[in-house]
Symmetry: C2
């Protein structure tokens, strides 16, 4: 199976765990059998590999997520990097061209597209295999998965199958699609459901050639590399609008298993295996309380009912469960610097902010190094607190270990290579400290 | 007026703002006219000075509070340091001896004793002056202030005056005391109040000689210095039990103004001038929510009702208002290292904890220095981030400013003197980092 997982952008609906640079699909919130926590993207990837060990997984995403994806999934996963966000049609075309030109997938081979973060069980991926096999038969140009609605939701588009509810045709796994409906109001949704309509969850399969053909109808490009170069100039358009709604030969497969979009604190915490993650104490009067604490100090909850508490280096949320879905406009107004970020080489966390200094804790993964770079307007001091590695400062190489201190004046070029996991306290000193004050250089061999 | 303010011990009833080393009376929670916040002790001290600019204020406290008291009240305030805690009789005797032998207060002069943290208006201190003047008349050996009860509280002792309720005698400012009653149950409290009883708030005045005489009856000592030396061996006994309840000649003054003990999060936040302190956002569905945030990241509250939220470097509390009074046993079980402390020279805050390192932010007040000291089992690195000063390392003096780095091996003696306010990021490195690993030395001139 060739699976393209669409990894959406960042957002603050799960603040303080998600923010401008940290997307919800990377939050480690699901307890695994070995007692560690995995993110939505790790969970989905593990499920795919359980159902189909040979599946080729490609994640279609922006550049900002590449480091985190490799940190969470390792180096084996394919990544189709979108140079900028251009909605789902360009993203799916780019990923399809990537599969063909970079991964060598044939024109007659099938591709399955799925969001990166559905909360589903293994049966969903079994159904995905069936969808893939159906696409291979070529009875239709597109095979969609339609989710059996559990309530008249206003947040999904609906698929009306030709096979009527309760008929023999409906009992068959696949049916032709009659029409697609935009996100309706609740009453309209009820009438759709009465007709046997299904949610459109953005899950579908096609033969690679089909999407490449559709792409060439709209976009003038030769191959993946050319498309990549032209990506910035493409028109923003959704795959549904550009392809699905115009295609007469579409089949839909009814899927009745669990399928959830964990997009709010309320839905996310409902899916947690335990009510709390991290250091916290709930007194026995608490009722229906969920806590996710990423800090290393305790959270104490007393006498709360239907409340969600979350703390990260970015801030603290305390919300009534239902209210939590209204978080976005509130946190969008909060201006704050990024306090935690994953990088290609590891991660950093801001631990002190002062007028003319910023102190961060840097963790480099073994075998990794940051870019060779300099800053114009700040000096830096590295205090190595654990691990071993090599620093390069203005071309001079030097081994470092816990206890070593490296001072770097503004303008001086520097990097550090981690042999083992390497942790440092980095003190930045300057009048105006900004993440944009950074020049990168090639490291001479 | 000679006022002795009894400053009680530490506790966790207001965790995470109070803990083993930080007492509730030092939490800065009351907004002043200039927009800054003051603590209970600062508020009371300011009120005393407003009513009686010449008042001599002495704070009876333990050694651990001395730094914080000087940081908050300056150097003018008198402090009677209890070598250890021995309940209120020894504490009041020691403070009285301190006033006589150190401050030169005469035997016939009066002393007023009051807790350090009542939440009162200026009229309370006007009443305190009246109490003091009454004690000077010598009609009784002790003059107590009795608080007009606002409800049948079970947490106060009661004073039954001889003057009956509604009589002419009761209308007079002072009445002789009939009896004292221990903390009653609610029904008994109601019957006391029906008799015109008053709360015993531990506020009273006496002539200095009276308490010294009582002291010599129970304790064999010559003067303040001698008493100080013997303090550790004194019997723990309350002033009420040792003196008040045995004294036949006591007058009580009825005080009907505001008088509150802000001992729980519920009472404390009710006294706050604004519902929130620090960086926080409440959505408009929040109702009766109080937030005290000492961290520099925002707290977002949504759809909460009757909830208190507080965050400090020690942890985060989220509690229903009424439940907040049950906090003590819960936080007593939490074992954690001290994350923030005020010292004689300034303060420190833990900003990172790792396996073999601890990173703290140190702020030295101008003109102050820490003890000359060394550690056996850890190296330290000072990263100066602002200010100017002088470090001494193994006897070698060196000026320092922002950007300077000082590395100190285990065993090396070191201190730093702050010329201006001086801030440093201190990285501690070692297998077992403990606050107890510290040897102090005299600094050679």
């Amino acid at each position: 199976m060739n699976i393209v997982l669409l990894s959406g952008g960042s957002g603050k609906r799960l603040w303080p765990l998600s923010n401008d640079i940290r997307s919800k699909q990377f939050i480690k919130i699901f307890k695994t059998e070995n007692g560690e926590y995995e993110s939505m993207v790790q969970r989905v990837y593990r499920q795919i590999k359980t159902v189909d060990a040979d599946a080729t997984v490609t994640i279609a995403t922006s550049k900002t997520q590449v480091s985190t994806i490799h940190n969470q999934l390792g180096e084996d996963v394919g990544i189709s990097v979108e140079p900028c966000r251009r909605d789902t049609f360009p993203a799916i075309v780019l990923a399809t061209a990537y599969l063909h030109d970079v991964q060598g997938v044939g024109l007659e081979e099938t591709v399955v597209v799925c969001p990166v973060d559905p909360y589903v069980n293994d049966d969903f991926f079994e159904a995905l295999k069936a969808l893939d096999e159906q696409a291979a038969k070529g009875e239709a140009n597109l095979c969609l998965m339609g989710m059996e609605p559990t309530y008249p939701s206003e947040k999904y588009g609906y698929i009306i199958p030709k096979a009527q509810r309760g008929t023999e045709a409906q009992a068959a796994a696949f049916s032709l699609v009659d029409t697609f409906k935009e996100k309706p109001d609740e009453e309209t949704a009820k009438s759709y459901i009465a007709q046997g309509a299904l949610w459109n969850g953005g899950v579908f399969a096609y033969k690679l050639k089909y999407v490449l053909d559709k792409a060439h109808e709209r976009i003038d490009f030769t191959d993946y590399a050319d498309l990549f170069d032209k990506y910035r100039n493409l028109t923003k358009i959704s795959f549904d609008y550009a392809v699905v709604e115009k295609e007469p030969k579409i089949q839909v497969m009814r899927f009745a298993g669990e399928w959830k979009d964990l997009g709010t604190w309320n839905t996310l915490t409902e899916a947690m295996d335990e009510p709390t993650i991290g250091d916290c104490v709930l007194n026995d009067v608490c009722d229906n309380v969920s806590v996710v604490n990423e800090l290393n100090v305790p959270i104490v909850c007393m006498g709360l009912k239907d409340v969600i508490v979350s703390a990260s280096p970015e801030g603290i949320l305390v919300s009534d469960r239902k209210q939590s879905s209204y978080i976005k406009p509130i946190v969008d107004k909060i201006e704050q610097q990024i306090m935690f970020a994953e990088k290609s080489w590891g991660s950093f966390c801001v631990i002190d902010v002062d007028d003319k200094s910023l102190t961060i804790k840097v963790t480099l993964n073994p075998g990794h190094r940051m870019n060779y770079h300099s800053h114009q307007r700040r000096d830096e001091i590295w205090n190595v607190i654990s691990g071993e590695g090599t620093v390069i400062v203005d071309g001079m190489e030097q081994p470092v270990k816990a206890g070593d201190v490296i001072t770097m004046q503004a303008g001086c070029r520097h990097t550090v290579f981690a042999e083992t996991e390497l942790k440092m306290i980095e003190v930045q000193l300057g009048e105006e400290i900004s993440v944009h004050d950074k020049q990168k250089f090639e490291l001479e061999a």
